[in-house]
């Protein structure tokens, strides 16, 4: 599944950050030797004094971010998501969230985007880890447009936040005029038979699955849940009330991830048959495209899963 119009979300991330930094000199970027992989080259060129590269030291990187926020700056702390979240988890908890430091944690290249590099470099646990931390907003943009909107929101919002910035190119699926709002999901496709709730760049795959199902007469609602914390509970409850089943789709571990977050709302309000698709285990050695197939995240596979839940 590839498409000509697909965009690597790091591009709009970096372009928006540069644009905002040009207007607001409080915006600084912090990274761990990841100027290249975080697409911060232009930022470094234009604002060299505001690019803080701490070297390969993620715990210090997040602590430095918290200190910069204390000094009145707005730090965007950028690193490959597995190392940002895994290595510096206690700094994220204590220095950023518990200290209410105005730090924007930018987890680059999450999910299994690093393909054959293997499970050490896959960031499939990040959402589950971070969702357990009080006070941290979690944003998983679906495409380039929503990445831009999320960066704009993050620069303005005086609160700790995690942005999950994909490197796997996808076409735009959201509306260019949308402003990002935490706690508000978007319904990208209407339907009252069943619901797909997805986050991140697999939203595009969920939409493709819905098209396949629609051709068979199964009207499938597709919800883009870019705000994982806080989650849009009302939209989940409506889907549970109005449709016969919910399947969640994510490029992360469903236990504690999007699947878990949706299930928590469903179970407490309107129980409905569910299935949670995502990365259930450490990946085999495989390309990104093969890993989508391996984890059942191809459009046909998502459609199959939904049919199975409805047939239960």
């Amino acid at each position: 599944m590839t498409t000509e119009n697909a965009i690597d979300c790091r591009k709009p991330f970096a372009a928006t950050l540069v644009e905002l930094a040009g207007k607001d000199d409080r915006i600084v970027a912090v990274c761990n030797d990841s100027v290249g992989s975080s697409f911060l080259g232009e930022f470094k060129e234009l604002f060299p004094e505001r690019l803080i590269n701490v070297g390969i030291a993620e715990q210090n990187m997040v602590g430095v971010g918290a200190g910069l926020a204390n000094a009145g700056l707005i730090p965007f702390v950028c690193a490959a998501s597995p190392f940002l979240t895994g290595r510096a988890l206690e700094q994220i908890k204590a220095d950023v969230a518990y200290s209410a430091a105005n730090v924007k944690l930018c987890g680059m290249s999450p999910g299994f985007a690093y393909g054959e590099l293997g499970a050490t470099h896959h960031s499939i646990e990040d959402i589950a880890w971070l969702r357990a931390i009080d006070g941290l907003k979690i944003v998983v943009p679906a495409d380039a447009r929503q990445t831009t909107a999320a960066v704009r929101w993050a620069a303005d919002a005086p609160s700790p936040a995690f942005l999950r910035i994909s490197r796997t190119p996808v076409p735009d699926v959201t509306d260019a005029s949308e402003i990002f709002e935490p706690g508000r999901a978007q319904t990208l496709r209407l339907g009252n038979d069943a619901t797909l709730i997805a986050c991140g760049t697999v939203v595009w795959r969920a939409l493709q699955a819905a098209k396949i199902l629609s051709d068979e007469g199964l009207k499938t609602r597709v919800i883009n849940m870019a705000s994982l914390a806080p989650i849009d509970a009302d939209t989940v409850i409506r889907a549970a009330e109005e449709t016969a089943a919910i399947v969640t789709v994510e490029e992360s571990v469903p236990r504690g991830g999007l699947g878990g977050a949706v299930a928590e709302v469903v179970v407490a309000n309107t129980p409905v048959p569910m299935r949670m698709l995502g990365t259930e285990a450490f990946a085999p050695t495989a390309s990104v495209e093969d890993l989508y197939e391996h984890f059942g995240l191809g459009a046909e596979q998502i459609a199959d899963s939904l049919r199975e839940v409805l047939a239960r």
Binding site: V28, G55, N60, G63, G65, G67, N70, A71, E90, Y98
Partner: protein, 266 residues
């Protein structure tokens, strides 16, 4: 109140608070009392009426378990009332067992888990340089705490950045929770380690106020570490250098004796 008078009052408040609350890290509190007294009396530019005044100096007490020493010092400097100090560790008190920023203005960042203060202080010092501010950054760490690798990431980067606006004071009492640092995972030669990472290092007696003042206020082109050689439980004869007094609470008789000893000091 000069720093010596303040330190004596802080020791009295530490004993009173911990006895009243029934918990606290008494040995660690008495160890850093003189360091904090000198900082608050003669070094830090702070305003208790405006604890988040943007141009204030920044202080992080990275060894957050010494919270009672910090709260007691803040009380004597107008940030807290004595009544509130006595709420330490009580339900819904702003005075958590470890200092919490969102609960108490004047706390710059949450500490308690060790190895967090130095990286945040480095970020503050980098930030001050970016915004061309005159304020300085101070961080007090334990010595056992320096076994955490995050500190060395921060020390390395501070040296690389030549953060002259940053001063670290190490409370070098040579005891960690259960044993001597040098028996557990040795730190010596600590000054040479910092120097190798691009810092200026000074070793002084951490209970000598003149020495503390001179070392902390010295200016240079590099980040500065003051290795303050201290005695855990300083001022109370039966607590000094006793690992068991890391977080033991004195009995009524012990409290009376301890109070008499710290009140008579100097």
């Amino acid at each position: 109140m000069n720093s010596e008078e303040q330190a004596r009052s802080v020791r009295q408040l530490i004993l009173e608070t911990i006895s009243f609350a029934g918990l606290g890290h008494i040995g660690s509190d008495l160890s850093i009392t003189d360091i904090l007294a000198v900082l608050y009396t003669d070094v830090l530019h702070l305003d208790p009426e405006r604890p988040q005044w943007p141009d204030r100096d920044r202080l992080i007490v990275s060894k957050g378990h010494a919270a009672v020493a910090l709260y007691s010092t803040m009380t004597l400097n107008g940030f807290l009332t004595h009544d509130e100090l006595m709420t330490f560790a009580q339900r819904d008190s702003r005075l958590n067992g470890h200092p919490a920023r969102a609960k108490l203005p004047g706390i710059e960042t949450c500490t308690g888990p060790l190895g967090h203060g130095l990286p945040v202080s480095v970020g503050m010092a980098v930030g001050a340089r970016i915004v061309n501010a005159d304020w300085k950054t101070y961080v007090v760490t334990g010595d056992g705490e320096l076994q955490e690798g995050s500190n060395w990431e921060a020390i390395m980067f501070a040296g690389h950045q030549q953060l002259s606006g940053l001063t670290c004071i190490v409370d070098r009492n040579r005891l960690q929770q259960g044993a001597l640092t040098e028996e557990t995972n040795s730190l010596d030669p600590l000054d040479a380690k910092f120097e190798a990472f691009g810092w200026d290092a000074t070793v002084i007696n951490g209970h000598d106020h003149d020495a503390l003042r001179e070392a902390i206020l010295a200016a240079g082109a590099k980040p500065r570490v003051v290795i303050a050689e201290t005695t855990k439980g300083k001022g109370v004869s039966f607590m000094e250098n006793q690992a068991v007094w890391h977080h033991k609470v004195p009995s009524a008789d012990q409290f009376a004796q301890a109070l008499a000893e710290v009140s008579a000091t100097r």
